[in-house]
C-alpha cells in the first residue's frame, strides 16, 4: 500500500496518511458514484443501437429536449444579465438591508426544490399574486413552457451572482481611474475595461446555471403542467418511462442526457482553466 502510494506521489512529503486517505477517497468515490453511474451506461448495452436511437429520438423525447435545453438556456441568459446587475449593485453600491439581500441570494440553494415548485405555481397561477396581474394581459405562466422558464430562472439565480461577485470585489479601482483619466466615458470604461475582466466569471456562472437547469426536476414539475409535447421536461420523461416499467427506455434517455451533462462539465473545466491561464489567476 505504502509503496504503491509512493509510486503515485510526484513529490515526497513528510506528512503521513496519504495511502489511507487517498485509498478511502477512491473506494468511497467508486462505491457511491462511479459504479452506480457505470451501471447505467452498461445497462444501455442491453439495447441495440437502433433501439437506443429510436428511443432517444421519439417525437415526445425530442420535444422534451427542446423544452429542457431551450428553457434552461433562456433562464441562464436572463440570470447572466440580472446576475451581473445584482452582483454589481451588491459590490458597488450601499443601501439599507444590503446584508439581508446578500444572504437571501442563496435562497434557491437552500430552499428544497419541491417547496419552490409548489410556491411558484401558487404565485404564478391565474389567481396567484403575480399570475393574477399577468392574466388580464393575456400572459399565462403556470402550466405552460413559460412556467418552466420561471422555475429554472429561480433555480439558477445564485450561480452568476456568486461567481461574478468575488471577481468584482477584487477588481482594482486603479484600472477604472486610469481609463477615466485617459478620457474614457463611464460607459466605455464598463464595456472595455470592467466587462472583459468579468467575462470569464460571467461565462462560468452562466454554464453552471445552465447545467443545473437542464437536469432540474422538483421545482419544474409542479408549475409545468406536464403536457406531452408541450410542457414535459426530459427528467420527467425518465420517471414516466420508469413508472411504465420501461427501464431500458428510461436508461437510454438518461444516458443521452448524461452525455450532454459530462460534455458540459468538461467544457466548464476547460473554460476555467483557460480563463485562469489567460488572466493569470490562481485558486
Amino acid at each position: 500500500m505504502l509503496q504503491a502510494a509512493g509510486l503515485l506521489l510526484k513529490r515526497p512529503s513528510v506528512l503521513p496518511g496519504f495511502g489511507l486517505t487517498l485509498g478511502y477517497t477512491l473506494v468511497y468515490l467508486a462505491l457511491v458514484v462511479l459504479l452506480p453511474l457505470s451501471a447505467a451506461f452498461l445497462k444501455t448495452f442491453a439495447l441495440s443501437w437502433e433501439q437506443f436511437w429510436h428511443t432517444v429520438t421519439e417525437p415526445r423525447v425530442l420535444a422534451s429536449y427542446r423544452l429542457s435545453f431551450g428553457a434552461a438556456l433562456a433562464a441562464a441568459a436572463v440570470n447572466a444579465v440580472f446576475g451581473l446587475l445584482v452582483a454589481w449593485v451588491l459590490v458597488r453600491y450601499r443601501f439599507p438591508g444590503k446584508r439581508v439581500v446578500d444572504a437571501l441570494v442563496d435562497l434557491p440553494f437552500a430552499l428544497p426544490t419541491a417547496v419552490a415548485g409548489i410556491s411558484l405555481s401558487a404565485v404564478y397561477a391565474k389567481n396567484g399574486w403575480i399570475g393574477g396581474l399577468l392574466a388580464p394581459l393575456g400572459i399565462k405562466v403556470a402550466y405552460t413552457p413559460l412556467g418552466v422558464f420561471v422555475a429554472l430562472t429561480f433555480i439558477g439565480l445564485p450561480f452568476v451572482i456568486r461567481t461574478v461577485q468575488p471577481v468584482l470585489e477584487d477588481l482594482e479601482m486603479e484600472l477604472e481611474e486610469a481609463a477615466a483619466s485617459l478620457g474614457a466615458t463611464r460607459r466605455q470604461t464598463f464595456m472595455q475595461v470592467i466587462l472583459p475582466a468579468l467575462s470569464p466569471a460571467l461565462l462560468t456562472g452562466f454554464a453552471l446555471a445552465f447545467a443545473r437547469a437542464v437536469g432540474e426536476y422538483g421545482s419544474v414539475i409542479f408549475i409545468a403542467g406536464n403536457i406531452p409535447l408541450v410542457s414535459e421536461i426530459t427528467p420527467l420523461l425518465i420517471i414516466t418511462k420508469l413508472e411504465q416499467y420501461d427501464t431500458a427506455g428510461a436508461t437510454a434517455i438518461a444516458v443521452s442526457m448524461l452525455g450532454v451533462s459530462f460534455a458540459l462539465l468538461l467544457l466548464i473545466n476547460l473554460w476555467q482553466w483557460w480563463s485562469r491561464r489567460r488572466y493569470g489567476m490562481t485558486e
Binding site: L37, L90, R92, F95, D102, P112, T113, R162, G215, L236
Partner: protein
C-alpha cells in the same frame, strides 16, 4: 464564496466616497445608481421574496389550528423523522469522505489529481432524477443485484436504504468542495512543524488541521444538510412514496399537493422553508469566520 466585509471601494448611494477627487469618474450618476439598485431589488423581490412569502401565507391561510393539525398528523411525523434519519446518516458519511479527500488532495501532490477533482464534482452535474435511476438499475427488480436481493429478502429500492444512498449521492461533493481549497490555501507548514515536534499523525490532524478548517467544515455540513433534507428528484425515484414508511418531507409535500390538500402541503413546505432560512442565517454567520478571500 462571498465576503460579508464591505470593500474599501464601496460607493455609497447617497455619497460617492471619491466624488471630491474624481467627480463621477469611477461611479455612475445618482439617478443611474438608484435605477440599477431598484431594478436589481425588483428582480430579487419577484423571484425570491414573493415565492418565500407565498409559502408561509398559504400555510397559514386557514388559520393556526389547521396548520398545527396538518403538522401533527402521523404521516407528517413519520416524514419528519425519516428526513432527519436520512440526513443523520448521509451527512456524516460525506463529512468523513470530504475530510479524507481534502487531506489527500490538499496535502500531497500526485498524478491524476485534476481528474479526481472532476470526478468528485460529478454528482453536481448529474440530474437528480438520474441519480435516483442509477440506484434502481443497481438494486431495483430490473437491476443487477435486484433478483439476488429479492431472494434474500433485502429491500433497498422503495425502502429507507435506497433513500439514504440517493441522498448521499446528491450531497457527495459539498464538504470536499469546501475543504479542498481551504486546506490548499493553508498549506502544510503547521502540520510539518507539529510532526517535527514529535506529534503523531492523528494528533497533528486533531490538534492542528481540524481547528484550522473547522469553519469551512461547518460550512460544508450546513450546505450538505440543507440539500439532504430537501432533496426531491433523486429520492422520489427510489422511494416508492409509501406513506408513513418511505416518505420524506419533500415527498409528503408532493403527495398532499397532488391531492389538492394545499394548506397541508404548504404547512409541511413551511417547515422546509424555515430550514432554508435557518441555513441562510447559519451560512452568513459562518462566512464571517471564514477568510474574506474565501
Amino acid at each position: 464564496m462571498k465576503t460579508a466585509v464591505l470593500h474599501q471601494t464601496h460607493v455609497s448611494l447617497a455619497q460617492p466616497t471619491r466624488q471630491a477627487m474624481t467627480p463621477q469618474a469611477t461611479t455612475e450618476p445618482v439617478a443611474v445608481r438608484w435605477a440599477l439598485t431598484g431594478l436589481a431589488l425588483f428582480f430579487l423581490g419577484v423571484f425570491l421574496l414573493v415565492p418565500l412569502l407565498a409559502v408561509f401565507t398559504q400555510a397559514l391561510a386557514k388559520g393556526l389550528s389547521v396548520y398545527w393539525t396538518a403538522l401533527s398528523e402521523p404521516t407528517a411525523w413519520s416524514a419528519i423523522k425519516l428526513t432527519l434519519l436520512v440526513a443523520l446518516i448521509s451527512v456524516p458519511l460525506n463529512l468523513v469522505f470530504g475530510v479524507s479527500a481534502a487531506w489527500a488532495i490538499a496535502k500531497f501532490d500526485f498524478r491524476g489529481k485534476n481528474l479526481l477533482l472532476t470526478l468528485i464534482d460529478l454528482p453536481f452535474s448529474v440530474s437528480p432524477v438520474i441519480a435516483g435511476l442509477i440506484y434502481v438499475l443497481l438494486f431495483g427488480m430490473p437491476g443487477w443485484f435486484g433478483p439476488w436481493l429479492a431472494e434474500h429478502d433485502v429491500k433497498i429500492i422503495f425502502a429507507v436504504p435506497g433513500i439514504v444512498l440517493a441522498t448521499t449521492f446528491v450531497t457527495f461533493p459539498f464538504v470536499a468542495r469546501e475543504l479542498i481549497p481551504l486546506m490548499q490555501a493553508q498549506g502544510s507548514e503547521e502540520e510539518e512543524a507539529a510532526l517535527v515536534l514529535g506529534a503523531s499523525g492523528w494528533q497533528t490532524f486533531w490538534r492542528v488541521t481540524l481547528p484550522n478548517v473547522k469553519w469551512g467544515l461547518l460550512y460544508g455540513v450546513i450546505l450538505s444538510n440543507a440539500r439532504a433534507m430537501g432533496e426531491f428528484g433523486a429520492v422520489s425515484v427510489v422511494s416508492g412514496h409509501i406513506r408513513g414508511l418511505t416518505n420524506t418531507i419533500p415527498l409528503h409535500v408532493e403527495i398532499l399537493y397532488n391531492e389538492y390538500n394545499f394548506t397541508a402541503a404548504f404547512a409541511a413546505a413551511s417547515l422546509l422553508a424555515l430550514l432554508a432560512l435557518v441555513t441562510l442565517v447559519l451560512k452568513t454567520l459562518v462566512e464571517g469566520h471564514l477568510q474574506p478571500s474565501h
